[in-house]
Subunit: 340 residues, 2 copies
DNA sequence: CTGAAAGCGCTAACAC
DNA sequence: GTGTTAGCGCTTTCAG
């Protein structure tokens, strides 16, 4: 309850301008209805300026029921603003800026964030970045039921129909795999993301399988390795696979951390990229783009699409939940070569 | 006033639990004072769970006068979340998370942001990232006068004493210059940031001059080039300088965009780095770190320091405004060689 | 131990 | 045209 040098409020302005408090609101909000005489309006403006008065967003939100704020739920707990999120937020911010919306970021798990933002009514809408689908579901259901404006990015919620924006995971995975196949590879290993919890991981795996099937290539047992999105698993399981005498001439990695880890394992064994093993990945990270061939999600486009969709949604003109899939552009260096 | 499916409020919970509204608050806030019998408290908890009730942050903020939110003012209008800001926010977020603070980002210029967040009482405190010192001053003065918790990062406000956290610009610039001098360079060009508006640009320039002076080296006319922090100016003015027959064997760039632009100009003229011209810079960007020698600000440390300081400040235990300067570590490739 | 009551600062409908 | 009034949903004394 300790407040600093009590800021001026509406009554202070009213007193100074010798008008009623509501007149202050009328003037400052430029309400279209009742016309206030210029003389009065000048007095009010001057008083407000003099006192450095702006109306309290809190009080206004309480009475209007609108916060003019959108929530951003970033699932990753550590270093949430790394490239993937930063790129998307750039695009999102650009889309929301002109509307005067603010962005509220809250700490915690995806579930608690969604709960916090929606149930505590802190925001008019929200975007959820790459929440593992399964874990967030209970809360998400209540969101969807209440028809609360929300856009999911990078991972599709299970069992809840909502707006969803992402790259076209299946198509991109297929393109990447086809690039390897075109180069002449037949024995291709796929390092997959967490298939049990993440829809993007599953869709990338499916794209890989589709490309192989279309080319009439077999996918042998163990050639799809569920590694979560974490490079650490690759560091454990890829060596085991190699020790087991697995045969492959190329690797399609579901993300960049895995590609980096795979490159490290290969290097440690004296295998060269792309001389001995070709490497291709999907990811937004560009720190090693000149070393590994990648399909890069257009992050700002994704964020922008999310922003535009959320605006529709908050404006009440959304209609049914919609899925938007954005294509990826190939980028990066030539880490793909014909098999030896 | 159009609200969706009216969320449950405290009275709804009270009615369902057959208690008074205030009892609901007492239970849910775990107020230390009055002890509620377990039977009642169970009923209330159950009712709240059933209705999916959480108290409104807006209403609570209105009555307590605390928002549990910190504002983040990002001056750059386009792509605000690029690496510099993202890194700092990561550190800041980690520091604020445990306290349960949220982060509010608002669109607009630094002035309007500061005005919006402080005067509209949306936040308990704020950090301002790299605002050009001069432009933000009028608003900043009222912040400082009201003793409002605020931490400035990356640019020191003019004529206002506030908390300020940054790398040690002068010392880092001096180190960078000294590295060139140690390599044997005597004719060194400094591509400076916007000297008239940005304190960091000035301090880096001063560090450069100090190193030159200490080594007894003259700084000839035109060897400090005010280019703003924008690479575009370098692209215009560096060629002009070269055409004018300027003599230098090394360049110290105030930031990375300038270094990149300088590298491009040199390449276009067939000058090699570091064969013909050595290049060194200060910056957080790591996308070309393996090409240009740089002194990299420890972004997360800066953000963390800002978070800790802001917490003190909001807790009322801040004392006088403080300046914290954090040292930079050298990083990146060998783009420095002895002069030919 | 529980409930009633007074605001927090504001918007918007409605009198004057 | 301007002022009065009724809440928005909650926290927090203060009586019962």
């Amino acid at each position: 309850m300790q407040r600093r040098k009590q800021a001026a409020n509406r009554s202070d302005v009213a007193r100074l301008a010798k008008v009623a408090p509501s007149t202050v609101s009328l003037v400052l909000n430029a309400t279209p209805g009742p016309r206030i005489p210029d003389e009065t309006r000048q007095r009010v403006m001057e008083a407000a300026r003099q006192l450095g008065y702006s109306s309290s967003t809190i009080a206004r939100a309480l009475v209007t029921g609108r916060t003019m704020t959108v929530g951003v739920v970033v699932h990753f707990v550590e270093r949430p603003f790394q490239q993937y999120v930063a790129g998307i937020l750039d695009g999102f911010w650009m889309a929301m800026r002109p509307q005067g919306y603010r962005m509220l970021l809250v700490p915690g798990s995806a579930e608690s964030c969604v709960a916090g933002l929606y149930r505590e009514r802190s925001v008019d809408g929200l975007i959820v970045l790459a929440a593992p689908a399964a874990s967030a579901d209970p809360e998400l259901k209540s969101l969807a039921e209440a028809d609360f404006p929300a856009v999911f990015i990078g991972a599709r919620p299970l069992a809840v129909r909502t707006d969803y924006i992402d790259i076209d995971n299946a198509a991109t995975a297929r393109q990447a795999t086809e690039e390897l196949i075109r180069a002449g590879h037949r024995d291709i290993l796929h390092l997959a993301g967490p298939l049990d919890v993440n829809s993007a991981a599953r869709e990338r795996r499916d794209g890989f399988l589709a490309a192989m099937r279309a080319a009439g290539l077999p996918v042998r047992e163990g050639m799809v390795l569920d590694c979560s999105f974490n490079g650490a698993f690759v560091g454990q399981r890829l060596p085991a696979l190699l020790d087991g005498g697995a045969r492959f001439t190329a690797i399609f990695c579901a993300n960049y951390d895995m590609a980096r880890a795979a490159a490290a394992v290969l290097a440690a064994r004296g295998l060269r990229v792309p001389g001995d093993v070709s490497l291709i990945a999907i990811d937004a990270d560009n720190t090693l783009r000149n070393e590994i061939r990648t399909f890069a999600p257009p992050l700002e486009d994704i964020g922008g699409a999310a922003g535009r969709r959320l605006r529709e949604s908050m404006g009440g003109t959304s209609g049914a939940p919609r899925t938007v899939l954005i294509p990826c552009q190939p980028a990066g260096a030539a880490s793909v070569a014909p098999p030896r």
